[in-house]
């Protein structure tokens, strides 16, 4: 590997050739500001259009300023990252960007979390010298994501996520010059496109151009209605991230405070989606063993591998892109929907109330969950099993709105019966977690032996596609894992081509799984945060007394009192679903 010597702000620096000025500078503690550039380490995700020009630096002997994000270092380079010429240029660039940006920062959904706002602040912009036409574009509202293209600065981060990472291909830059916008084909609205609502565009948007549909108002209304019993479920990944919204260290586990906050917000019962995750394992695990049993018995028609079906964006992805394979994923509903179905039947019966008088709110790391709970098959007499899905961010907003001092809250426990969960339910929030949870139960059900070890390190990690073979007491079970829809596509194409040897595959749409969901606190380009959240979930799992879904006493009771057994007719009606060809 060639070595390059250069100086950055008079400091001698030695780096490998092929390093960008931006990377070299960060190595010596000079953090050159960037806006369009984004690099998510470990996930192999980079957006580097060199378009915004905020990162320009002065290179001695070079006529013009160089964009640090996409200029490689060379031998003997002398770089100044904050000369007057550089600062003036950055300010001019920022003023030009702002000259075509709406001035509604005070009431913008992204205020306080906006990279553009932060950058303008850091550059000390106090006046905009350029007055001109402002581009305008209609607002596009879908069930999950709102596009306010007026606020787009054409950084193309969303395009990178949608095309290269997720391979969904909804967003592209269209038209040219002043008229150019990022849009679906033919400028159609998102809800007419093949958008999966994974929300990765929202997760990386540096401005308020892409945000989630805000449902906090509806939840406040429900909570203040004395005729309604309002219950809440919170997804596993929320507890590993919510603290960040209150200045806590990334990876802080805030399960107890989360419960306390929800109780103070006025929810009548504070439950856990992890309970429904355990239930998912009972159904999905049984389905896996059934298909496997038939396969081993020589049934040629049985579909393998079985694919997980917890992720609504993934479901919508294959309905649009691989409809001919819609009989391969498990028919098990997602934990969110299983919870809703059980809450409005089993639990409503226990309370002696009608489903119409119960409001189920879910707290999700996800924006696609907003879309999922609106799907027709999850409604009875037009009443949805889950009424409102809030993102982790929306919950934080609700807590702040209600004057709750989150960090000072005591730790409290979930209510029963839908609040009890095992460690297997907790790890649903990370890539590899659903399949590990399934293995823990499927192994014991199949072999009728106790697992010697519960931690399946071979299933964990951040690699986009992982595979492992688990020994089911002499029967080797081949497992595949993909996170990010682009990786999922690769595994699907293998199945299509008859090249797949897996028995079961776990798929999560978001890089990292739900911990990196589109509804989580913004990572602002720091993928290290995702790893910390992942570690937090494995810690929570380890600290649980019960770590296998089939040992959850309230799950056992639910089957004894209500469902019968996994895959029973009742379970099928309430906990399973069907998929549709959306082409």
């Amino acid at each position: 590997m060639d070595i390059v010597n250069l100086t950055i702000d008079n400091k001698p620096v030695v780096v490998k050739s092929g390093t960008t000025i931006l990377e070299a500078a960060s190595g010596v503690g000079m953090h050159i500001p960037t806006l369009c550039h984004m690099k998510l380490e470990d996930l192999n995700i980079e957006n580097k259009p060199g378009g915004c020009r905020i990162c320009v630096v002065e290179v001695e002997g070079r006529r013009n300023l160089a964009p640090a994000c996409c200029t490689d270092v060379s031998e003997g380079m002398k770089i100044n990252t904050h000369s007057m010429r550089v600062i003036n240029a950055r300010r001019t660039v920022m003023e030009l960007i702002l000259s075509d940006h709406p001035f509604d920062c005070l009431i913008c959904a992204k205020s306080g979390n906006c990279d553009l706002q932060d950058m303008a602040h850091n550059l000390g912009i106090r006046e905009i010298h350029y007055k001109g036409e402002q581009s305008t574009y209609r607002e596009d509202t879908s069930p999950a994501i709102i596009r306010e293209v007026d606020k787009c600065i054409m950084c193309r981060r969303c395009e990178t996520m949608c095309n290269e990472v997720q391979t969904v291909g909804v967003l592209s830059a269209i038209n040219r010059g002043f008229e150019s916008v990022v849009s679906p084909a033919f400028e159609m609205n998102l809800d007419h496109s093949v958008c999966t609502y994974c929300g990765q565009c929202v997760a990386v948007c540096p401005t308020g151009a892409l945000t989630e549909v805000d449902e906090t108002g509806k939840v406040i209304r429900a909570l203040s209605d004395p005729t309604k019993t309002v219950i809440v479920q919170t997804a596993p990944a929320v507890r590993a991230a919510l603290g960040e919204e209150f200045g806590m260290e990334a990876g802080s586990l805030v399960t107890g405070k989360l419960v306390a906050a929800l109780r103070r917000l006025g929810f009548d019962h504070v439950f856990d989606t992890d309970f429904a995750a355990d239930l998912t394992i009972m159904e999905e695990g049984t389905e896996l063993l059934n298909r496997l049993g038939k396969h081993l018995a020589g049934d040629k028609d049985v579909k393998l591998p079985i694919l997980t079906s917890c992720c609504p964006a993934w479901v919508k992805f294959f309905e649009h892109q691989f409809p001919e394979m819609k009989d391969i994923p498990s028919t098990a509903r997602s934990p969110q929907q299983m919870f809703g179905a059980i809450a409005k039947t089993y639990f409503a019966d226990q309370l002696g109330i009608k489903r119409e008088d119960m409001v189920v709110v879910s707290i999700m790391p996800c924006v696609a969950k907003k879309y999922e709970c609106g799907r027709d098959e999850f409604k009875t007499n037009d009443n949805p099993d889950v009424d409102h899905a809030l993102t982790t961010r929306e919950l934080a907003a609700l807590i702040k709105l209600s004057n709750i001092d989150f960090t000072a809250l005591p730790n409290e426990d979930f209510d029963n019966p839908l609040g009890e969960s095992t460690g297997a339910g907790v790890i649903f929030g990370t890539t590899g977690g659903v399949i590990e949870a399934a293995v823990r139960t499927a192994y014991e059900v199949h072999t009728k032996k106790e697992l010697p070890k519960l931690d399946f390190e071979e299933l964990r990690g951040m690699e986009g596609i992982r595979e492992a073979t688990i020994d089911f007491d002499g029967l080797p079970i081949k497992i595949g894992i993909a996170h990010g829809l682009g990786n999922a596509r690769k595994l699907l194409e293998d199945i299509q081509a008859g090249k797949s040897e897996f028995h079961a595959i776990e798929i999560m749409s978001c890089p990292g799984g739900c911990i990196g969901g589109g509804g989580q606190p913004y990572h602002h380009g720091d993928a290290g945060i995702l790893k910390k959240r992942q570690a937090a979930l494995y810690t929570e799992d380890k600290n649980k007394t019960l770590r296998k879904s089939h040992e959850n006493p309230h799950i056992i009771e639910l089957y004894e009192k209500f469902l019968g057994e996994p895959m029973s007719e009742k379970a099928h009606h309430l906990l399973h679903t069907e998929y549709f060809d959306r082409t």
């Binding site: 095309n163 969904v168 291909g169 592209s172 830059a173 269209i174 084909a185």
Partner: protein, 160 residues
């Protein structure tokens, strides 16, 4: 956007053109050129077929179609009229000529007449500045066009 169904042979034609370029995404612009030269325009349904054949997204194809002013999603008339709006033509009165075409044909730039006979487009310099202002109808070039000539030019094609 109203959907039109493409005829089988149109779909085949598009597929053949894509195949000529080895179904490479990098050949998108060439494919669009060829298809437009055969069909006269690039409606949404055509772009969908191209995207599928080149294994790229429709959004990306649409992005390219809308970036280059040469590509059009509106059917051209049988006799496409182009008025040069390059600097030389413009200063010698191309705008008045354009306005006269619009007035006589009752269409805007980029549109076709109801009978499909004519469409109007503007372009930038055909390299005949000495003849400014220049108008082309199909392959034929008209030089030093004055608004008073417009009626005569249209009449040439009326009964074709």
């Amino acid at each position: 956007m109203p959907k039109i169904k493409l005829a089988e042979n149109t779909v085949q034609l598009i597929k053949d053109i894509c195949k000529e370029f080895e179904n490479k995404e990098s050949e998108l612009i060439n494919v669009l050129h060829q298809v437009q030269s055969k069909l006269g325009y690039l409606p949404a349904e055509v772009q969908e077929v191209i995207a599928k054949e080149l294994k790229t997204s429709v959004a990306k194809v649409y992005g390219v179609v809308t970036f280059y002013s040469f590509f059009t999603m509106i059917p051209q008339g049988e006799n496409p009229i182009s008025i040069c709006m390059g600097t030389a033509c413009y200063v010698r009165g191309a705008e008045q000529v354009l306005n006269e075409f619009k007035r006589q044909l009752k269409v805007e730039v980029g549109e076709s007449t109801e009978d499909g006979k004519f469409s109007i487009n503007c372009l930038r310099c055909v390299g005949a500045c000495g003849l400014a202002p220049v108008v082309t109808v199909g392959e034929k070039v008209y030089g030093r066009v004055a608004p008073t000539d417009v009626k005569k030019i249209i009449a040439e094609y009326k009964n074709h």
